[in-house]
Amino acid sequence: MDERLKPETAVGVPALGRELGAVARRRARSRLVSSLRANGLASFGVLVLLLVCLSAIFADVLAPHNPRVGDLMDSKLPPAFLPGGDPRFILGTDELGRDILSRVIHGSRISLLVGFTAVALAGFIGVVLGLVSGFYGGRIDDVIMRIADIQLAVPFILLAIAVLAVLGPGIQNLILTLGVAGWVTYGRVVRGQVISLREKEFIEAAHCIGVPNLVIMFRHILPNTLAAVIVVGSFAVASTILAEAALSFLGLGVPPDIPTWGGMVAAGRDQILTGQWWVYTFPGLAIMLTVLAINALGDWLRDYLDPRLKI
């Protein structure tokens, strides 16, 4: 069965292996693959995501032009397959003469970087705070949950606007903002799981034989919450990519010479009226396909790992 394992399914394997504990790894894998195969949308998602990751990794090789610098002589050329197009620019150019294809390819890098690192950061903060909150309960729990309430109560986009207006634009600041603003969901989900887990017998047993709290938290409880975290995270990546687009629209994204899909759509939005559709359509499609892929994958992961998760 192993030789039939597609490389992409390896993504979920480590977490799953731990989650399932005693179940044989081989059986887990085969169940995973057949479940994935049964779900058309999810397999499609895997394929798209794979393509996007490849383009992100090999952007420098794949992109025919420099994505950040163009020649004003080549400004606003339509795609090569249309009248007036230039064979050098397959998907056309923007008003600064930059190659759309190269920018979409390089955009995958930034969009994924922002999406995944921001989610990882949010997940990290959320998991740690959720663990601590659920495990210790009492006053610590109260404080952490009040902080969570505060963050939920301030509309996310306002928080992001305020923070970015203060810190200034830039990829690091964007990741930081999206990451710090996004931890609450993880925190709540993990806390909920920890509370139900900490009364379980195997945890009580660990307490009895004198296992230190930290070890219990990270060795015994954490692995059992990961399924939920992965599912939450898979949806969050998608919404993070959209949030980046929204912030670009408000002028708070990354600098405009650095290509991001959201930034490209935001910068090209006025061309909806002028008919230069290629400026926004290709990055827009890239966002749509990627978000769709991640969501489809998230849906499937949820059904597969824990259908009772309400996310």
């Binding site: 009040r146 109560a153 207006a165």
Partner: protein, 311 residues
């Protein structure tokens, strides 16, 4: 239940304190609003004098305490730029935002329920896949892009709806102005709720009481719409409560695209001008609304799920 409500209301106090302190702290990180308040021909001495006289030379926590002192007495201060009491400014715009948010929520639920039910009852059929694909596309389109597209097609090309702004009071006119922004704002939630309805309904449909109902010979329609859906709605209601915050935030962008005169456009302008009293006032009101809505949602639980007891 009365005690429960009072306890919940008391719990909002630290949340509001936290929110306002956070906003003050963030806003003050990049200096004070003086420079943006004066015209370009002000001299440096004049700017300095105004800064001193308005008290912006004080550290942020002093100014925050002063704000609190006034706020306790119900005085949110006067807008630095508009010269009007902050509270009046917010009240002026609040109806527009509520109107938009509730309309979006209505659309989200009115579309999501049937979509979710259809795709759950015909799982993995073509209809299911189509509905879910539609939901995913809705969930992966940047809000600003959707808004401009809708405006372009239904306002510009077809001329069915007016372009931006809010009506002048006549119900029909109001409604015509409301449709496009409400769809724009609601689409993301349609997708999310439809998927949620689908997955919870699927879960509920597998439960004993549904089987019992079917065994009693009830028609499938009665089973689904009467027995199953009510239980499937519980998680949806929670999400709707949380989504209120998302919608209020998302309204910032929708309001910008459609020139909708709501709180979102007020606060984004205020952030841009560093009109602190307005930002703090708006965020306070929005947070309070969010907290209240979630209280209502929790009370709704009791109606939907009699097992819930308020402590």
């Amino acid at each position: 239940m009365g005690v429960y409500i009072i306890r919940r209301l008391l719990q909002t106090i630290p949340v509001l304190l936290g929110v306002t302190a956070l906003v003050y702290f963030i806003l003050f990180q990049t200096g004070d609003p003086t420079f943006l308040m004066v015209s370009t021909d002000a001299s440096r001495e004049e700017v300095e004098r105004i800064r001193r006289e308005l008290g912006f030379d004080q550290p942020w926590y002093i100014q925050y305490l002063q704000f609190l002192g006034r706020a306790v007495r119900g005085d949110f201060g006067v807008s630095l730029r508009q010269g009007q009491p902050v509270f009046d400014l917010i009240l002026e715009r609040y109806p527009a935002t509520l109107e938009l948010t509730f309309a979006a929520m209505f659309i989200a639920l009115a579309l999501a329920l049937p979509l979710g039910v259809i795709s759950a009852t015909r799982r993995n059929s073509a209809v299911d896949n189509l509905a879910m694909a539609f939901a995913l596309v809705g969930q992966s389109t940047p809000v600003f892009f959707l808004g401009i597209m809708l405006l372009f097609v239904f306002g510009g090309l077809l001329g069915w709806f007016p372009i931006g702004g809010r009506g002048r009071g006549e119900p029909i006119d109001e409604l015509r102005h409301l449709v496009l922004p409400a769809i724009t704002l609601g689409t993301f939630s349609v997708a999310r709720n439809a998927r949620l309805v689908r997955s919870t309904l699927l879960e509920v449909l597998g439960q004993d009481y549904v089987r019992t109902a079917r065994a009693k010979g009830l028609t499938e329609r009665v089973v689904i719409w009467h027995h199953a859906l009510k239980n499937a709605l519980i998680p949806v209601v929670t999400v709707v409560g949380l989504e209120f915050g998302t919608l209020l935030g998302g309204a910032v962008i929708t309001e910008t695209v459609f020139a909708w005169p709501g709180v979102g456009s007020l606060v984004i302008k205020a952030i841009g001008q560093k009109d602190f009293p307005v930002v703090v006032g708006t965020v306070t009101i929005l947070s309070a609304s969010f907290v209240l809505i979630n209280l209502v949602v929790d009370l709704l639980y009791g109606y939907l799920d009699p097992r819930v007891r308020y402590r």
